[in-house]
């Protein structure tokens, strides 16, 4: 058998290579640089690497060739394993922006009086002598870990076959498991969350893997295009295909935190260092929804009547459970986690929309564009909100219990106002980005005839307003009890405040003039099959 060397399309996939390359460089730096210099070098490496990749993504995006009569742009590279098309580029840009904001939050050191939010030595208690001695024992490995996770997030939505998708899933997940367990304060909670996340992640990966095997058995190929062809040519509905598809869905629905696979979300969001929560709540969701869309639209697009009913139910349950449980939370991070679950439901509503532009009136948004736009609006709000959570502190670190937040609007009006703004955007109040995002996903689902889902979506988004506004009222109108300890805002460095400012700006601009970004999502076109 003759071996043909696979030709790599370096011109298109180089942003991906940059990210992985910088991650490896980071490992080397960790090994060879003296401890004192590592922090600066690692932060610079990560930031520059992500910036270069972002610029690269934009360049790649402007130079994609049109295929399929202008319906889509781009190519299938890496011997079928990596697809660089319009949606890929759009999602890459989103992931990279979210990661840049994440790096800024990781690098914040002023909040903990000169040390980062990550534990130096797992055994040393925060503030103890042992830890003071270990000062500078910063886990600067977090930056290479972050870069590997980002690499996985870039590859995940770009995978052209199931094997690549699985590898990307693991590459993005493993660093996140580790990062979750590195909190300096509330270590037990953090380590417990990491272990849970890891065990359950491994569990769901197993389902994904088994699903791959079954689908391979059915289609005779891992390639999404080949699966699509097999599905199209086979009128009989194979049980093997259905079970395979179901198991693949389980793996992906776990990653996005859809009901009934959401159990890990609140614990992990609460336990992880807040910077990590901010980064992964946006990054993982963007990447996993990219992969979910590609799997369902490209691989199983011809078979949508098989998966649609199940996804209807999952979307409805996810929204309801997210909203109802968010109402009864008393911890900010847990509330935001359940709110993230609800947003997963709203995004799934968008996934159910009309996907082929041929079925739509000229110029209407497709569900792909609506979901990508929603991801952008949600990312700005969630990163900004978690960044603010990291500022609100009392004597024992971050104060996430509700009663500590009472009257925050009096003590720090600006920060409280920014948090209120993010909450309003998540609630989908007009003139914020969240409103336009919700409007987009609801309309596409409505056009596809998924009106029961839309009715539930509108009802739950309206009831969600309740717990968002309740928190705003808590900050601005409630007076803390006389002897209760309350949290105050610790002044951050430019890194965190800049991140929050970017979040506010993004949320505001996308709410007032969403047109350009929606147009950009529309220009991204369809997936390449």
């Amino acid at each position: 058998m003759e071996f043909t060397e696979p030709a790599l399309e370096y011109a298109e996939i180089w942003p991906l290579i940059v990210v992985f390359g910088v991650a490896c460089l980071g490992i080397l730096a960790e090994a060879f640089l003296p401890r004192g210099r590592r922090h600066v070098v690692q932060v610079a490496l990560a930031a520059v690497g992500l910036l270069v990749a972002l610029v690269g993504t934009v360049l790649v995006g402007t130079n994609l060739d049109e295929v399929a009569d202008g319906e889509a742009r781009g190519l299938i590279g890496g011997a079928g394993s990596v697809v660089v098309d319009g949606p890929t580029v759009f999602i890459w840009a989103l992931v990279l922006v979210a990661s840049l904001m994440g790096v800024a939050l990781f690098a914040e050191r002023r909040l903990e009086a000169g040390v980062s939010a990550f534990s130096g030595q797992a055994a040393a208690l925060p503030g103890s002598d042992a830890e003071r001695k270990a000062q500078g024992l910063d886990h600067t490995e977090v930056y290479p870990l972050l870069m590997f996770a980002v690499g996985g997030m870039l590859l995940f939505p770009a995978s052209g076959d199931l094997l690549t998708m699985f590898v990307a899933l693991e590459v993005l997940s493993l660093p996140l498991y580790l990062l979750t367990g590195l909190a300096r304060r509330r270590r037990l909670l953090s380590q417990e969350a990491a272990l849970k996340y890891f065990l359950l992640g491994a569990f769901s990966s197993g389902f994904f893997l088994y699903g791959m095997a079954l689908v391979y058995g059915y289609a005779g190929s891992m390639d999404l295009g080949a699966i699509d062809a097999a599905v199209r040519n086979d009128a009989a509905n194979s049980v093997m295909l259905q079970i395979g598809l179901g198991l693949l869905l389980v793996g992906l629905l776990f990653k996005v935190g859809a009901v009934p696979f959401q159990a890990w979300t609140p614990d992990v969001y609460q336990g992880a260092p807040t910077a990590v929560t901010a980064f992964m709540s946006a990054g993982t969701k963007i990447a996993a929804f990219g992969a979910l869309l590609r799997l369902l639209y490209v691989g199983f697009g011809a078979d949508r009547w098989t998966w649609q009913p199940v996804m209807w139910v999952v979307a409805i349950l996810t929204m309801l459970v997210g909203v109802v449980l968010a109402v009864v939370q008393t911890d900010v991070k847990r509330m935001l986690a359940y709110s993230a679950v609800a947003h997963t439901g709203f995004l799934l509503t968008g996934v159910l929309g009309v996907q082929a532009s041929g079925e739509l009136a000229e110029g209407q948004v497709t569900s792909l564009q609506a979901v990508m736009f929603y991801l952008a609006t949600y990312s700005f709000a969630t990163i900004g909100a978690f960044a603010i959570v990291s500022l609100v502190r009392d004597s024992s670190g971050e104060a996430t219990a509700f009663d500590r937040w009472a009257g925050l609007g009096k003590r720090s009006p600006l920060v409280a106002a920014a948090f209120a703004f993010f909450l309003l955007s998540m609630a989908g109040i007009p003139l914020t980005a969240g409103f336009v995002g919700k409007w987009a996903v609801f309309t596409v689902a409505m056009s596809a005839g998924a009106w029961p889902v839309v009715v539930v979506a509108i009802a739950s988004s309206i009831f969600a307003v309740y717990f968002y506004v309740r928190h705003i009222r808590l900050m601005f109108f409630d007076v803390p009890e006389a002897d209760a300890e309350v949290a105050s805002v610790t002044a951050p460095s430019l890194l965190t405040s800049g991140t929050i400012a970017v979040g506010v700006l993004g949320t505001l601009v996308l709410g007032l003039v969403p047109g350009p970004l929606l147009q950009l999502a529309a220009d991204a076109g369809q997936f390449i099959r």
């Binding site: 109802v324 009136a361 000229e362 409505m446 147009q519």
Partner: protein
């Protein structure tokens, strides 16, 4: 332009000219909203620095909007009848491919009337509040919220598409929430604000779904597009949209079954009750129905539903008004009932739209007048609201008494006062169009005569029943001036109907009805109405005026009185049907969450003893139950896939 006619009457199409082409004062339209919005922004962001002059700025922006609105009205009167709709495009709100949603404003004969009412009555209430809130340390914030409300309400009536209406709709809801709960140190005020908020959410579901259906059916939310294509949509679709809009309108306008929040909303400062919960915001539902005439004309079933809801509400509110001892709640019941009249007229279609708006405006005058009068009384009575502690105030508060009396005569429909004209036309039209509802409206008028006379007698006549230490006095002139202006308007509001003016003025928006044939001359209807009202007044005189009034409410009363005192058990109905099942559901989900997620963690006593050992054990249970839930999920997903596709 009238696109099509159905059953002999025409339904106009919204076809505005652009503000730039219209010239004159029209390009300044955006300023009407921007001024109060700017006021609210400065006052909220400026903080304590603006305390000294905040109330003056707030009043000035409202008056500025009023002046501008007046200029717009004059300019509009100078234009041809067909050219009176003017639109202004501010910016592209959402613009991608086929969807074009602009931040567009529309001023036409309908919205200009609202502009005058909102900015006019709004300005008067700003002036009044300078005096009323003088001793409140948070007066500046109060004016900021009032400005915010005025801006949002103007947005609601000026928007050219339903999305813009929704923006204003949510804005007034927010302002109303903030103002009902303004005295947040009172738990009752905070609870009332929450209640109003929650009930309004239910209405908002209807509103949002209606907008979604507009997008799906017409690909747009613009009045221009929808009214031009309304004939193309099926009656089923239009009926569904009509019902959804009615749900939205019922929430905002406190119509049965979403009426329960309005009585509690009286916890807010009295100027708020006058402006938001009497004159303007609560009438937004009527505006929505009249503005959506192109929907309701194509959906007779939805129109009938409007009429039924309106009739039930007008009786419901009137009965509640009869039994309340709290002067503001008695007036709130009356507001509910009067909005029922407006809704009734709006539900009668093209025959009634103009009268709905006419009554809305006169009601805005006389009800704001009476609420401010009630505020003036409370001001003199140490904020006591119980009418059983009033009595014999007419000598001590002559201005308040006389102005309140003008409002009283207007609302009961005393001949030649403003309410006489507007209510009379509604009852007449209802009697002709559907006698059953007409007779209910007539009975409502009699009950109105009863409860308003009762309020009047208990407050200003009879014996002194004042509490110790209360020294009633007339209010300062900054408060009586708005009262005098509003009293004058309550008397003279009827001039809007001089020569049928308001009917002709609204023709470009609501269409022209064929003259209906009256079985009797109009004067006979008026006489019947006046006679029924006179009976109500006489009954009140006999039962309230002639007997001594105990200073605590008697408890040995009939079932009807007890029911009316309890708001006809509106809260109990809500509790049994909605709140309790909802709570049970939440409790169920919470306990499921606790037992699955938190149970072993929080409940484990071993955790307290040895963290390590306990945590490990708890942790095991934890992940296992998570994994179990995932496994169950897998089974369900697979089973569902297989079942659906077999």
């Amino acid at each position: 332009m009238f696109l099509y006619t159905e059953g002999g009457h025409s339904i106009p199409v919204v076809d505005p000219v652009s503000a730039a082409d219209a010239g004159g004062v029209f390009p300044l339209l955006w300023l009407v909203i921007a001024l109060p919005l700017l006021g609210a922004t400065i006052l909220l962001l400026g903080g304590r620095r603006t305390d000294a002059w905040g109330h003056l700025l707030g009043t000035a922006t409202a008056v500025g909007s009023f002046v501008l609105s007046t200029l717009l009205l004059i300019a509009m009167m100078g234009r041809e009848e067909g050219d009176r709709s003017v639109t202004q495009h501010l910016w592209d709100w959402v613009s991608v491919g086929g969807y074009e949603i602009g931040m567009d404003l529309l001023v036409d004969p309908l919205s200009i009337l609202f502009l005058m009412l909102i900015t006019g009555v709004g300005s008067l209430i700003h002036v009044y509040s300078i005096g009323y809130m003088e001793h409140d340390p948070r007066r500046r914030r109060f004016f900021a919220y009032l400005n915010l409300f005025v801006a949002a309400m103007l947005m609601l009536v000026l928007a050219e598409n339903y999305l813009g209406v929704f923006l204003g709709w949510e804005g007034v809801g927010l302002a109303s929430y903030l103002l009902i709960g303004f005295w947040q140190h009172k738990p009752s005020a905070a609870a009332a604000a929450k209640k109003a908020f929650v009930i309004n959410r239910v209405g908002d579901i209807g509103m949002s779904l209606a907008i979604a259906m507009f997008f799906v059916t017409f690909g747009s939310a613009s009045f221009t597009v929808i009214s031009a294509n309304a004939s193309g949509a099926g009656e089923g679709t239009m009926t569904a949209i009509g019902f959804l809009l009615l749900l939205g309108a019922a929430g905002k306008s406190a119509q049965v079954p979403l009426q329960a929040w309005l009585l509690d909303a009286m916890e807010g400062p009295t100027p708020v009750s006058a402006l938001i919960h009497a004159a303007t915001m609560v009438t937004a539902g009527v505006y929505l129905v009249v503005r959506s005439n192109f929907v309701f004309e194509a959906a007779p079933a939805a129109q009938t539903a409007v009429v039924v809801v309106a009739t039930v509400t007008l009786l419901w509110g009137a009965v509640i008004g009869c039994a309340k001892d709290d002067i503001k709640k008695a007036l709130a019941g009356s507001t509910m009932s009067q909005i029922g009249y407006m809704m009734l007229a709006a539900g009668l279609g093209v025959y009634g739209y103009a009268y709905a708006i006419f009554h809305l405006i006169t009601h805005g005058f006389f009800k704001a007048n009476m609420f401010l009068g009630a505020g003036s009384v409370m001001h003199g009575m140490n904020d006591d609201v119980d009418m059983r502690h009033y009595g014999a105030l007419r000598k001590l508060m002559p201005v308040t008494f006389l102005t309140f009396a003008m409002g009283y005569l207007a609302i009961i429909g005393f001949p030649l006062f403003s309410g006489f004209w507007s209510k009379d036309k509604i009852i007449e039209t209802a009697l002709v169009e559907s006698p059953v509802f007409g007779i209910c409206a007539l009975i409502g008028a009699g009950v109105t005569g009863f409860y308003m006379t009762r309020v009047m007698l208990m407050t200003f006549f009879g014996e002194k029943r004042w509490q110790d230490g209360v020294h009633p006095h007339e209010s300062p002139s900054v408060m009586t001036f708005p009262l005098i202006v509003l009293a004058a308007l309550s008397v003279l509001g009827g001039v809007l109907y001089l020569g049928g003016w308001i009917k002709d003025w609204l023709v470009p928006v609501v269409g022209k009805a064929p003259e209906h044939e009256l079985p009797f001359p109009a004067i006979v209807f008026s006489l019947i109405t006046v006679a029924v009202v006179a009976v109500g007044v006489a009954v009140a005189w006999l039962t309230v005026g002639k007997r001594p009034i105990p200073s605590t409410a008697p408890t040995d009363v009939s079932f009807v009185t007890r029911a009316a005192r309890n708001d006809l058990y509106g809260d109990a109905i809500n509790d049994t049907l909605v709140v309790e099942p909802g709570k049970a559901l939440t409790r169920g989900l919470v306990s499921a969450d606790r037992s699955l997620v938190d149970g072993l963690f929080t409940g484990g006593a071993s955790l307290v003893q040895g963290l390590g050992q306990g945590l490990r054990r708890a942790q095991n249970g934890f992940v296992r139950s998570y994994a179990l839930s995932i496994l169950a999920g897998v089974v369900i997903v697979l089973a569902a896939l297989l079942v659906v596709n077999l």
